[in-house]
């Protein structure tokens, strides 16, 4: 046997070690996918407190305790774009066929600039921008800005939108 040849045992350990490393990569990738879909687990949150909350918490006493929880995302529940979610910040969300809208509808019943959702004082309001076929909140036609409760359907053409927590 060639003296430079590594022993069988070393090669076996290298082989098993590499396969373990390969599966380790797959598992780490799957974990990243899970983090992405469901957010960090409780244990990870404790280990890594979100830096956004910590400095602000002592200065702002909990003021939203008696208020309903503010929605964090806009979900399309019906229509061609069903399943789409848009994270809500504080900027208005524009909806329509125009390419620079936040939510671009490919719907012949929607206008170019159909409606928008505006955040004001902890509430989201839906406002019709003079659309041809109208915007409906709970089957009521929106004529002036109306507050949108959580989970109430807002219908534009064939698309139905809801605010979710």
């Amino acid at each position: 046997m060639d003296p430079t040849e590594p022993s069988e045992l070393v090669l076996l350990i290298v082989k098993i070690g590499f396969l373990a490393l390969l599966w380790g990569f797959v598992l780490v990738a799957v974990r990243a996918v899970r983090l992405d879909m469901f957010g960090p687990t409780k244990r990870q949150q404790r280990r890594e407190p979100p830096p956004m909350v910590r400095p602000a918490a002592p200065r702002n006493p909990p003021q939203s305790a008696h208020k309903p929880p503010t929605p964090s995302k806009l979900v399309v529940t019906k229509g061609p774009l069903a399943g789409t979610t848009i994270p809500l910040g504080s900027v208005p969300v524009t909806i329509g066929r125009a390419q620079d809208s936040t939510l671009v509808l490919e719907d012949d019943f929607a206008s170019g600039r159909h409606a928008r959702l505006v955040h004001h004082d902890g509430q989201w309001f839906v406002e019709d921008l003079g659309s041809t076929n109208g915007t409906f909140l709970n089957r009521t036609k929106v004529t002036s800005p109306m507050p949108v409760p959580l989970g109430a359907p807002v219908r534009i053409g064939k698309t139905v939108l809801e605010l979710h927590r």
């Binding site: 430079t4 040849e5 590594p6 070393v10 090669l11 076996l12 290298v14 082989k15 098993i16 070690g17 590499f18 396969l19 490393l21 390969l22 599966w23 380790g24 990569f25 797959v26 780490v28 990738a29 799957v30 990243a32 996918v33 983090l35 992405d36 890594e48 830096p51 910590r54 400095p55 602000a56 200065r59 061609p80 774009l81 789409t84 848009i86 994270p87 809500l88 910040g89 900027v91 208005p92 969300v93 524009t94 329509g96 066929r97 125009a98 390419q99 620079d100 936040t102 939510l103 671009v104 490919e106 012949d108 206008s111 170019g112 600039r113 159909h114 921008l129 003079g130 659309s131 041809t132």
Partner: protein, 498 residues
């Protein structure tokens, strides 16, 4: 009511002796409240680099019996190459999916090591036979990988908004079909292994059908988004199937039949199957009609039955698949397939270990049959890991499609990720004798330049769609509001003031 401005929180906790700190000075996401996508991507990327380096180390250990510092240098170089792509993602798509790029890098690293391993075996055999040592395929593939990385960065940098691609729908479709036809032109087209698919420029050969695939998909997606309502609702019914008017369906059929016809003329079974599947899925997703899938499958069966007696190479492939071990097949028509199967069998559950099998016994071991080489040396365990990685790629692509806020982005991302998945299925299924063998490459792993360049562009487009899907809405520009009535009547945007 205005709140006093809070001091801006740090973007991330400072970590001193961390690789992340090295990258901290590089362009950061504009939206400071993004989850740490890029940090996760970097962690995974480092892992992928370690994976590729240890594959090379295991191979070197089995081949020459000792390790050298050179392995580490090569591994570091490979990581630095893809780290540039990571920096580009940081700069151009900060909110994009963190899993896609590292999985691609891991697959690419495994592929490069396996190609290098087959190089070693080939040069060993040539040395023993006293023949001239063949040029290294791994070096060529490394150059192509660099090119693929550059194309990846360019696509991310140039396509800042995927919706703009929809404007070039017809141009893209035409360019795609012209690209498919180029190899037939005498002088620049060459045929390799019986299929006339390659363009030869100097020492490099390029397969334009890989790029045409993306261009034609852009056309399909943009066209279907425009005409979806007509295709879904405004059409007469025939036998329970809605048949749209010829005027609406015309351009689609022309593009589709042209691409299929050209591929069939060029003897490229795999790509025609890929185009067909891509077309069906995009049509199904756009119209939500199962009848399209059913009629498409019917067409496929009819086409297969028609093609079988007409094309000799189809008969050879089907015969090699059904009767792989019968008569004198194992030594002639189904030789590679059977050798590949023996390779898988030799690998067993845990494989022979890198550098310790005989994958060079299969013809085309580094292109069509690279899965058999990997199966022999990494075993079932390794093959499962690789297939899981592909599943992750397709899954994240579909996730980007689900999240996309516009229909074009949805169709594009669905089409791209489905094409990637179908290609892996057709390729691996062929090698494992589940379906007849067709000549396709395994994305990112096989030796082949055009494949890795085109697939890098696909990943860049998926990242682009994913980035736009996850980014919080941007504050509106201070452009004057249009008269809503005027805009709602016009099909496109009238004025663009910046």
């Amino acid at each position: 009511m205005t709140r006093p401005p809070l001091p801006l929180p740090p973007l991330r906790r400072p970590r001193s002796a961390d690789l992340t700190a090295t990258f901290a000075g590089l362009p950061l996401p504009r939206d400071s409240n993004l989850p740490p996508y890029r940090r996760r991507e970097l962690t995974l990327l480092v892992y992928a680099g370690v994976l590729a380096t240890s594959a090379l180390a295991a191979l070197t250990l089995a081949d020459v019996g000792q390790l050298s510092l050179g392995v580490l240098t090569i591994g570091l170089g490979f990581f630095c190459l893809w780290a540039m792509a990571h920096i580009a993602v940081r700069r151009f798509a900060p909110a994009a999916d963190p899993v896609l790029l590292p999985v691609v890098v891991a697959l690419n690293g495994l592929g490069l090591v396996m190609i290098y391993r087959l190089d070693l075996a080939r040069s060993e055999a040539a040395k023993q036979a006293g023949k001239h040592i063949p040029p290294s395929a791994a070096q060529v593939q490394l150059v192509w990988t660099l090119l693929a990385m550059i194309v990846f960065v360019l696509v991310l940098a140039l396509v800042r908004d995927h919706r703009k691609l929809a404007r070039y729908a017809y141009t893209a479709g035409l360019a795609g079909i012209v690209g498919l036809m180029l190899p037939i032109v005498p002088g620049i087209g060459t045929s390799i292994n019986g299929a006339r698919l390659w363009l030869r420029v100097g020492p490099f050969s390029f397969q334009p059908s890989e790029v045409s695939k993306i261009l034609i998909l852009i056309f399909f997606a943009a066209y279907l988004v425009n005409k979806r309502d007509v295709l879904t609702y405004g059409s007469p019914t025939l036998l329970g199937l809605k048949i749209p008017h010829a005027r609406t369906l015309g351009p689609l059929l022309v593009a589709w039949l042209a691409s299929l016809g050209i591929l069939v003329v060029q003897n490229d079974l795999g790509s025609s199957l890929l185009f067909f599947g891509m077309f069906l899925v995009v049509l199904y997703v756009a119209t939500e009609r199962v009848s399209w899938i059913l009629s498409g499958l019917g067409l496929f069966v009819a086409g297969a039955v028609l093609a079988y007696p007409l094309f000799g190479h189809v008969q050879v492939r089907v015969d090699g698949w059904l009767h792989a071990f019968d008569g004198d097949n194992p030594s002639s028509t189904s030789y590679q397939l059977v050798q590949g199967l023996y390779g898988f069998a030799a690998g067993g559950i845990s494989g022979t270990g890198l550098g310790q099998g005989h994958p060079q016994k299969v013809p085309f071991a580094n292109t069509d049959f690279i899965m058999a080489s990997l199966g022999e040396e990494l075993g079932l365990t390794g093959v499962m890991a690789i297939l899981t990685m592909y599943a992750l790629l397709v899954l994240r692509g579909m996730r980007a499609a689900l999240g996309a806020k516009d229909a074009f982005g949805k169709l594009l991302a669905t089409g791209l990720s489905f094409t990637l998945g179908l290609q892996v299925f057709v390729q691996v299924g062929g090698v494992m004798r589940l379906i007849p063998l067709t000549g396709l490459t395994l994305p990112f792993v096989s030796y082949g330049g055009s494949s890795i360049v085109a697939n890098a562009a696909i990943i860049a487009l998926l990242l682009r769609v994913s980035d736009s899907a996850r980014r919080a809405p941007e504050p509106p520009s201070d452009a004057p509001l249009f008269d809503p009535g005027a805009v709602s009547e016009s099909p496109t945007q009238v004025v663009k003031t910046t």
